[in-house]
Amino acid sequence: MKGPESLARNKPPRVQLDPRFAPPFPQAALPVLRNTQLRKNVAHAIDVIQSKRARLVEEKADWEELRAAASDLRAHVLDNLGHYLEEFESQCTAAGGHVHWAADGTEARRIVLEIIRQKNANEVIKIKTMTSAEIQLNLFLEQAGIAAHETDLAEIILQLGGEAPSHIVVPALHVNRSQVRDIFAQRMGLPDLSDDPQALTAAARTYLRKLFLTVPVAISGANHLIAETGGVVIVESEGNGRMCLTLPQTLIAIAGIEKVIPRFQDLEVLLQVLARSATGERMNPYTSVWSGVKPGDGPQNFHVVLLDNGRSDMLRRPVERQTLKCIRCAACMNACPVYRQTGGHAYGSVYPGPIGAILTPQLQRLEHAQSLPYASSLCGACYEVCPVKINIPEVLIELRAQVTNREREEPRRFFDPLYLGLRIASFILASPRRLRLAQRLGRIVARLFASRDGWIHVLPGYGARWTRTRDLRGVPSQTFREWWSTRNKGEQ
């Protein structure tokens, strides 16, 4: 079996999850839509999680109350964020931790690298963390000559296979068992490996044990930061995270500033909604709360990096600030009919799905991710399942207005079919007289395209986007308002 050191040096994933370079959503979705195996894997995986979640929500008679409590709690935190962050800092420091403040990804990466360099380490092990993915930490560390080994089973699969994550809780859900076997067999040098789940996890375990026992620095994210105690909460399924929390000498937790909660007791509500929403379990298998340093027990150097990276700007905006209530359960992407078809890669961001569609444009510059607010049919399934009641459709519409407000001023957009169409529509709909004229004119134009059965099979230009897969019934010979006026004349 090859050693972990050689395995961690990967070619970068084929799929680009940096919004600055990723293609717009409609284009990025195309290769996925053609990949029937991937779509099958995604649909199967989320159908399983969805039905488990539905069952467990059903059994909870007070689910709506729990949801309201979780939502109120997160809203309360956002209203008092400065206070709770300062409380967290002083409690964490008093317990022997070091708290660092990072305004953006660059600062956070620099802080993490300095800590690793101080320890003279050239390897780190990682607990699955979205925040480190957000700041593209692995790539940065690799360029600095430091190997970052993922320890979450799904993240190992992705790291070894050169794959990009496609989900925030189940990042390898687009990879099936036999594909995992192929990746492990090739990268771990185990040609006889079977695709039996036990054999696969055993291979991963052997691979991980050596890392846990030798690598001196661990990097984690945080599901919650407890202001009252200065504790960092890590919620996971496999126990590999707990190994990272306890075995290395140095622990660095990177957390978005919104992750803070007031009291330990608040976990009662949050853990109940999180496990049910995320994986369809009553309780997640491993919940670790790490508070400061205990001599002779666990990491002796404990650092928390508090990352802003656009979050305080979001906090200032009345509609968008609810995005920060998110507890990263991914229920929205499991419920999303768009995600079900495209999986996560099409979003070109480490945060896919509905939450990614609102979070990514706000973390990045809007123009880097402006196709994402449109990557939704506004069906509202995400809002319905969100355990902290983020009205995602409302935020999507708000972000669309921001995109539109900027784009409509650009001269090159003047003849953009959608913008032109909406401007003309607005002119027409401003007056019933204009509407009647347009309806008459539209009828004549539609007749030019209609075939003998009255249906339109082919439209030119932008209209082809409709008729590539759908016919359009021709425009009837009489509008409703025409019928109404002749009918009333007939009666008089």
């Binding site: 099409a346 449109y374 049919s377 069906c379 399934a381 909406l422 607005s426 709909l429 009837p476 019928w483």
Partner: protein, 278 residues
């Protein structure tokens, strides 16, 4: 394959007929029909069916010819100012209406979910106040029948196997719940075909259907599979926008299923079956 068309039958002009509920309705009921821009232009038969249905129930139907559009398309595309103009027009022309009936759940959702925000951002106190007063008098068709008129048996006759597509706005914005099913259950001859994954979007989503045409079509395919599995003759909904999308694909694929707005099913009777509706 040529199916009889249900949109181009010659209009006939029924006088209001006696109520099927034998006079349980208040004879002075009046409803102002907001037909919506796309029903007006593309699906006038739905509007004619609403008129036939309500008049059969003894409701006097009004049609304010100043109406155009609720503004949903503009609001959801980020054209706030344009959407505001439509919202303002709506409130101004319906300020004095007794009740407003709208045979489109997504337009009702637009009004309920977005008007207040638009008025707070761009409007004045008067507009906000007028809308607050007007708002409880705005009904989606099934709400109007079940909640306001309190009738479920409308005397309808539609001897076909029908799948009901619960549009997302009806389901999640208006919380229509079992209202549509209760209405369909009372239609004589109708056999309701249970549809799997009823809470899953059909992929229309307004401009989403062209801006993300490929993803929209993939969602459509999934929905179509569920509908075809029901072996229904008709797929019905309270939203012609979903039905335009679904029906367009059914027609393209010679699927043998047709779409029809629920108003047309509820308006059909033994003496005036759907092909003969005004």
């Amino acid at each position: 394959m040529h199916l009889p068309r249900i949109d181009d039958a010659q209009p006939f002009c029924p006088r209001p007929v006696e109520s099927v509920t034998n006079g349980t309705l208040n004879s002075e009921m009046r409803a102002s029909l907001f037909i919506t821009c796309y029903n007006d232009t593309l699906y006038p038969e739905t509007g004619r069916a609403v008129v036939a249905l309500l008049e059969r129930l003894g409701v006097e139907v009004e049609f304010n010819s100043l109406q155009t559009c609720c503004g949903q398309m503009h609001a959801n595309s980020g054209f706030r100012a344009e959407a505001f103009s439509q919202a303002k027009r709506f409130v101004q022309i319906y300020r004095d209406a007794e009740t407003i009936v709208i045979p489109s759940s997504s337009c009702v959702a637009m009004i309920r979910e977005q008007y207040q925000g638009l008025f707070e951002e761009l409007g004045n106190e008067r507009l906000r106040r007028d809308f607050a007063v007007l708002s409880p008098r705005i009904f989606e068709l099934s709400e109007y029948l079940v909640d306001h008129l309190k009738v479920e048996d409308l005397g309808a006759y539609f001897p076909h196997r029908v799948a009901y597509h619960a549009s997302c706005h009806g389901l999640r914005a208006l919380h229509l719940g079992d209202r549509p099913y209760r209405l369909l259950a009372k239609v004589r001859g109708l056999e309701l075909a249970p549809l799997a994954n009823t809470d899953r979007c059909c992929g229309f989503g307004g401009t989403f259907s062209v801006k993300n045409a490929e993803v929209s079509s993939a969602m459509l395919t999934a929905k179509l599979q569920d509908i075809l599995a029901t072996r229904a003759e008709f797929c019905t909904a309270l939203d012609n926008s979903c039905l335009m999308h679904l029906g367009g694909a059914m027609h393209r694929q010679f699927a043998g299923v047709r779409t029809v707005h629920m108003a047309q099913i509820l308006a059909a009777t033994e003496t005036h079956p759907i092909e003969e509706l005004p």
